[in-house]
């Protein structure tokens, strides 16, 4: 990054830290949503952006994380800080199993994507019928009321949740950066660009890909834990839906697949855009079901046609935030 980029990034960081003092409740809830999508987009990016594995079923890992941590809390009184490890383990196990199936049998590209959708759908229908997890009627975490902020059990005010998700985003960003410049990260990039060449120089494709799935699913599950304790209710139809999986991948795509800042920028574009559309539609009184989603579809097509690499690489280049290719990053 150039000096200008670092200054701008630091400025954004300070603004985000100070946001709860300036923003009202509505803005804070929007920001929390933005950061949540930035976080899971970051997690998804590890698979698609770093290692070229298209997953369209990330709702599976969100859902597993959410349900496992919520069930441990409600049934056994195990708090989220302990439960999250089990949740991450469950999601990682599921991810590795899907990866094992796919990579073993040479299921690639679109077919691998389909396999991930299939498992998310199986989970959706399965959880609909699992009474221990509330079934289709939903699973609820009791709301504590005005018990004050309890960071240990993740119960409390919107500000608490805001800072938790902000911390998650920063951790994920730092982790992504470390990983990308590690031995494993370079293997991922090689596997993404030229699998055959990577294999020829001794990269174990299977292991590199499984590692990507494991990291991505574990991170995503953490997003699920947050979601469970933030919203206090879980419905299989929402949590595991294909629509949710698509929502998860959009920020990274819009912002720029494979970049570190892309998913965050993408989330900051998409969620406020959605809020703005809702506001405009309500203000004009021209309320038709589907109108907002229609605009989303148009936006998607426009972005992929005109900014196929995402907004961040273009923006960073225009504003001189990163060094041009060839200079050392």
């Amino acid at each position: 990054m150039t000096g200008r980029g670092i200054v701008l990034l630091a400025l954004c960081g300070v603004l985000l830290l100070a946001a709860p003092m300036i923003a009202d409740r509505y803005v804070l809830s929007v920001l929390t949503t933005v950061l949540w999508f930035a976080y899971v987009g970051q997690a998804w990016n590890v698979m698609m952006g770093f290692s070229g594995l298209l997953s369209l079923g990330h709702a599976l890992y969100v859902g597993l994380g959410a349900y496992v941590s919520a069930a441990l809390f409600v049934h056994f009184g195990i708090g989220p800080w302990a439960g999250m490890w089990v949740a991450m383990l469950a999601a990682t196990a599921a991810g590795c199993f899907i990866g094992f199936l796919g990579f073993r049998f040479g299921v690639r590209g679109v077919h691998f994507a389909l396999l991930t959708i299939a498992f998310a759908e199986v989970a959706r229908i399965g959880f609909d019928h699992l009474q221990w997890f509330g079934g289709s009627g939903g699973f609820f975490i009791p709301v504590a009321g005005d018990a004050g902020n309890d960071l240990l059990n993740l119960r409390g005010s919107p500000e608490l949740f805001y800072y938790v998700i902000l911390a998650l985003v920063l951790v994920a960003l730092a982790l992504s950066r470390v990983l990308l410049h590690s031995r494993l990260g370079y293997q991922w990039l090689a596997v993404r660009e030229e699998p055959e060449a990577a294999e020829a120089v001794g990269v174990d494709l299977f292991r590199a890909r499984i590692a990507a799935v494991a990291v991505s699913s574990a991170l995503t599950a953490l997003g699920g834990v947050f979601q469970a304790f933030y919203f206090n209710n879980l419905f299989p139809e929402q949590v595991f839906s294909m629509g949710r999986s698509i929502e998860i991948i959009l920020p990274a795509i819009v912002g720029g697949i494979g970049t570190l800042i892309g998913p965050i920028l993408g989330a900051f574009i998409l969620t406020p855009l959605g809020e703005l559309l809702t506001f405009l539609i309500e203000a004009t009184g021209f309320d038709l079901p589907g109108l907002k989603q229609l605009f989303y579809g148009v936006a998607l097509v426009v972005i992929v046609v005109y900014r196929p690499d995402g907004v961040w690489p273009w923006l960073a280049d225009r504003l001189g935030l990163v060094r041009r290719p060839g200079e050392d990053a």
């Binding site: 077919h111 959708i117 299939a118 759908e121 199986v122 019928h129 294909m242 038709l288 229609l294 097509v301």
Partner: protein
């Protein structure tokens, strides 16, 4: 439970499966030639359904007679879509194609939601409640006609690809795009034609489907996924495989809905998919690449 009962369920599942198979055939044709996965396939199918619903309510047209009209409209839509947008994505990475078609799917789906509302619409035909006795089987007249329609369209499609010059040219494109270009085939034109054919075929499948289920926009993503499962189960690039896969999925859905719980029926389809990917990743009739 008498054996006849199972036989009936199986037969009706297989007939529904033929319509599924026809829809998947459209997907298979597009993917086999253009190498682009049509993630808006279910949306096009439901557009076909609404086309038939509209023609039935405005002109009192039977869905089977409405099918050619629907096919023509969707053919034109598919052709324009390929020419205008998809063609420039043919060489791009898969996830870009996916996002483009996802955007198009979202637009189609929500346009239908705005035009027709979220409630289901059905088509009434004079033979809605008729049954036909075939040996020990008692089949719904609507299901029989829908299945027969699917077979006829599939047969026409097979004949087109096997015997006509254009069909052969399209197959040449699928086998070797570079070679096809070298011998002077207009690849872009043939791609547009293929996308049009795929869209037209799924439009017919949609029109036939109105005989069996009520039209709702929400069906669209379900049908997209279903078509994918069928194509993979049947074997990529294999047209008979798509029909066979459709029948298998139709059969397993009917059995699951009958033996267990109707809400579990799609679980079975995914189960079939996972088993096929495990044991025979190239699909039932697919060739190992």
């Amino acid at each position: 439970m008498p054996f006849d009962y199972y036989l009936n369920i199986a037969a009706s599942g297989l007939l529904t499966g033929l319509v599924y198979g026809l829809a998947a055939l459209g997907l298979s044709v597009i993917f086999g030639v253009v190498r682009v996965v049509n993630f808006a396939h279910g949306e096009m199918m439901v557009a076909g359904m609404y086309g038939a619903v509209l023609l039935a309510s405005l002109l009192g047209l039977d869905p089977i007679l409405a099918a050619p009209v629907v096919a023509a409209v969707l053919f034109a839509f598919g052709w324009v879509l390929q020419r205008g947008l998809v063609n420039r994505f043919v060489e791009r990475p898969e996830h870009m194609q996916f996002i483009l078609l996802l955007g198009i799917a979202t637009i189609i789906l929500n346009a239908m939601l705005m035009l027709f509302g979220p409630d289901s619409r059905n088509v009434m035909v004079p033979y809605s409640f008729d049954t036909v006795e075939v040996g020990p089987l008692l089949l719904d007249a609507v299901r029989l006609r829908a299945g027969a329609g699917a077979i006829v369209v599939a047969a026409v499609l097979f004949a087109f690809f096997r015997f006509s010059r254009t069909g052969k040219a399209i197959r040449a494109c699928a086998d070797n795009p570079l070679g096809a270009r070298v011998v002077g085939l207009n690849i872009d034109g043939l791609y547009a034609l293929t996308f049009g054919i795929g869209a037209g075929v799924v439009g017919i499948a949609g029109a036939l489907m109105t005989l069996l289920v009520d039209s709702r926009p929400q069906l669209a993503p379900e049908y997209t996924l279903l078509s994918f499962i069928i194509v993979i189960v049947g074997g990529l690039g294999s047209l008979p495989g798509a029909l066979l896969g459709g029948m298998l999925i139709g059969f397993s859905e009917a059995m699951a809905g009958f033996l267990l719980d109707p809400s579990l029926k799609s679980l079975f389809s995914y189960g079939v998919l996972i088993v096929v990917l495990l044991l025979r990743p190239q699909g039932l009739l697919g060739k190992r690449s």
